[in-house]
Symmetry: C2
Subunit: 439 residues, 2 copies
């Protein structure tokens, strides 16, 4: 079970680094396993996809069953609980409302040089043409992740959104996943998962179109396949995903029960999930610890919680909120809850986090499902370098310039100077001279 | 030398794909070579960096010589030609003027649910803390690339910008590189190149700080090292870079000499550079071909141009500008020149390109150095999925939410419905219930 509260300053280096490290996904160790699968899918297409689906998912799919049929989706609407349908529709509305505000405007900038010569330059945003959204299956089914991946792509204006999710043993995808894909606006849904799904989306097969970008969480093999195909330049990806995590910053004004409960709710996800509290109040730390010890045994997922909190959990006491902020920026959590007297003041100083939850009534599950922010977020400290999913993920930027002869003339000498210095690139220089002499 | 004009429609599949493919960098083939170097730098730090610098760059550097000293930079200012200094200063001004317009504003969105309950959500942009900018050395020296990498990082607000460039055989970095780094605002400059520089920036050494992101072009080993370290989640990178390339779209109104000259100026970069014209005018195609044949023999770089145009060049005739646009979007060039009667009309239909040059007086060398757009751009078709370098490259986005009790109450039922369906995640549900009952 979770260790008793400790003073952050008193942790030795090894313990400190263990807390920071959490359960890192070791992608390099599985690369060898996934490359042969990828190569087979690249070379054989559907046949390899179906063979690996049989081998790994134990489902004997036929080629014409790869795509989920329209009728199946219509039936799924009838089968799911009405309250789930209602909640998914509301979720879509909330996600749209927030993500639409992320849309970019093109820029066109009219300029002229002091010595005359007008020119324009700017940038234009264009959606990616085709994208794949991967949603894991297996133990659970995750219609909310479907929404999180598809809605921003749709808002960006992606023409073809292909959802991929592994079939369960009956050869089907969960009804809720089908309905979520339909509500969010996915164009098609393939019943393929794992490395074979990622490879099929990257290279295309006889039936599955290739895509430019693949987003969405998966197990270590899926993550490694995305990383490998991105490294060789075949596809773009979102940021690599690992187990979910929370860091909570709290002072003496916070409610210890809320905090303990939020640690439990993160820990129940997965044995490798990570839940850490950093607080300036020794009393709060103690109360959280006692609540956790009392409550976790009552949980339906107590084995998971015990492992998760035992291996990756911590209650850390700091001397000041400043120390807590420094720790948070070093930890760079996927989810950060701030429960202090003035949470906005603390948030101002936070540089590294995926999504931030301010105050007593903003628990992470609200953002998991309904606030409208995205829940596909960087984990394991990657928030230092990466952002969560957004409309931007699905856009590229083209820059452009259009010069008058006078503008080109105004900068010609400096172009020639630099081209002479760097290459010298004589033909670059000729390209300028030819234009200015021939007018 | 370059092949005579061909009709695009009449190319067989193999030839068509050869044009599209250009000289792809095969990252997977060099991964085995670079991993041992990376591991040595990770484990030994500076010692391995110095050993590999000796082995590969033939320079016997001491640890205290890794960082370029302030005095050296001051001396460099005195040694470089005054016109180069002037041109670099103007370049910085132009780059700043354009890139400042790319800055993002934070977003805070005040919302309330119809049944009451106010909440806020938003996004905050934060610069990466430390970044590395890699600039190749070897045959040439590239102060312009220094500018292109450093200026947007500076505008984004990056706290520490480390420039890395290999030493030439005298153990120094070119004066122009030092001066460009200083003008652009790099915080320090290390005389280290190759895989050892990338590994040192990723892991940090005794003297070199680790960074969150590495940008900038390099040879295949540098590119592979960046790709590998990004795939295992260690660093973020810009888009993988390959040999430079141009596609020109032209109609009968265009100037064939300008076009031919621009193809030459792209081809002179590198044997693997790629220069392609696609035109609706048979006459123009012929004239460009004749000009090329006549002129390339006069070039100081005629061997390079002959190989580049011979292997990767093409003059393609199409039936219509629509066909040219479709080809351009499929080709997704790094640089696209549009020389038609109404270039803006064509540009409207372009979705895939790094940077676009409109009209007769916007040759690529203008953008290489002086218009203000960035010249670190996606190559080899990656413009389908990636953008060139921009201020965004150096920013991350944090999202946040702050709910009133009433707002949480308003969405509580839907959160509980979804958490019950997905896990069920009982502790998620408890996190909501606890807050709403205890008020």
């Amino acid at each position: 079970m979770i260790k008793p509260p400790q003073r952050l300053k008193e942790l030795n280096k090894k313990k400190y680094e263990k807390v920071l490290k959490r359960s890192q996904v070791k992608i390099d160790e599985v690369i060898k396993v996934i490359i042969p699968i990828i190569k087979e899918v690249e070379e054989e297409g559907d046949e390899a996809v179906l063979r690996w689906t049989k081998k790994l998912d134990k489902v004997n799919l036929k080629r014409e069953e790869i795509f989920v049929k329209e009728e199946r989706i219509k039936e799924a609407y009838k089968r799911i609980k009405p309250e789930v349908l209602k909640a998914l529709r509301r979720m879509e509305k909330q996600l749209k409302d927030f993500h639409i505000q992320q849309k970019r405007s093109n820029l066109i900038s009219y300029r002229s040089f002091p010595d005359g010569g007008e020119y324009q330059l700017g940038q234009k945003f264009v959606p990616l043409e085709r994208v794949g959204v991967y949603v894991p299956g297996g133990k659970g089914n995750y219609p909310s992740t479907v929404m999180m991946g598809v809605v921003p792509a749709k808002i960006a204006g992606v023409k073809k959104i292909i959802l991929a999710s592994p079939p369960s043993q009956n050869g089907e995808v969960a009804d809720e996943v089908m309905v979520a894909a339909d509500i969010a606006g996915a164009d098609c849904l393939i019943k393929v998962g794992g490395v074979q799904a990622i490879a099929a989306l990257a290279y295309g097969t006889q039936t599955i179109p290739s895509v430019d970008l693949i987003v969405g969480p998966g197990n270590i093999y899926v993550t490694a396949a995305k990383a490998y195909l991105s490294a060789i330049g075949k596809i773009a990806i979102d940021c690599p995903a690992g187990p979910s995590e929370i860091l909570i910053i709290a002072d003496e004004s916070a409610n210890s029960e809320y905090i303990a409960q939020d640690l439990l709710s993160q820990a129940e996800h997965d044995e490798n999930a990570c839940a850490v509290l950093v607080t300036s109040s020794e009393k709060l730390a103690r109360n959280v610890y006692l609540y956790l010890k009392e409550k976790f045994v009552l949980s339906a997922r107590k084995e998971i919680i015990e492992k998760s909190l035992g291996n990756y959990g911590a209650i850390l006491i700091v001397d000041s909120l400043k120390e807590a902020v420094n720790f948070a920026n070093e930890f760079a959590p996927e989810h950060l809850e701030i429960m202090t007297e003035k949470p906005e003041k603390i948030f101002d100083k936070i540089n590294n986090a995926g999504s931030v939850f301010l105050g007593d009534f903003s628990p992470v599950p609200a953002g998991d499902y309904l606030t409208g922010t995205n829940h596909i977020l960087p984990t394991a400290g990657a928030a230092k370098r990466f952002s969560g999913l957004s409309v931007d993920t699905f856009l590229k930027r083209l820059t452009f310039q259009s010069l008058s002869k006078e503008a080109l003339s105004s900068i010609s000498k400096d172009i020639i100077t630099l081209a002479s210095q760097e290459g010298p690139f004589e033909e670059h220089i000729n390209a300028i001279k030819l234009r200015l002499h021939n007018f």
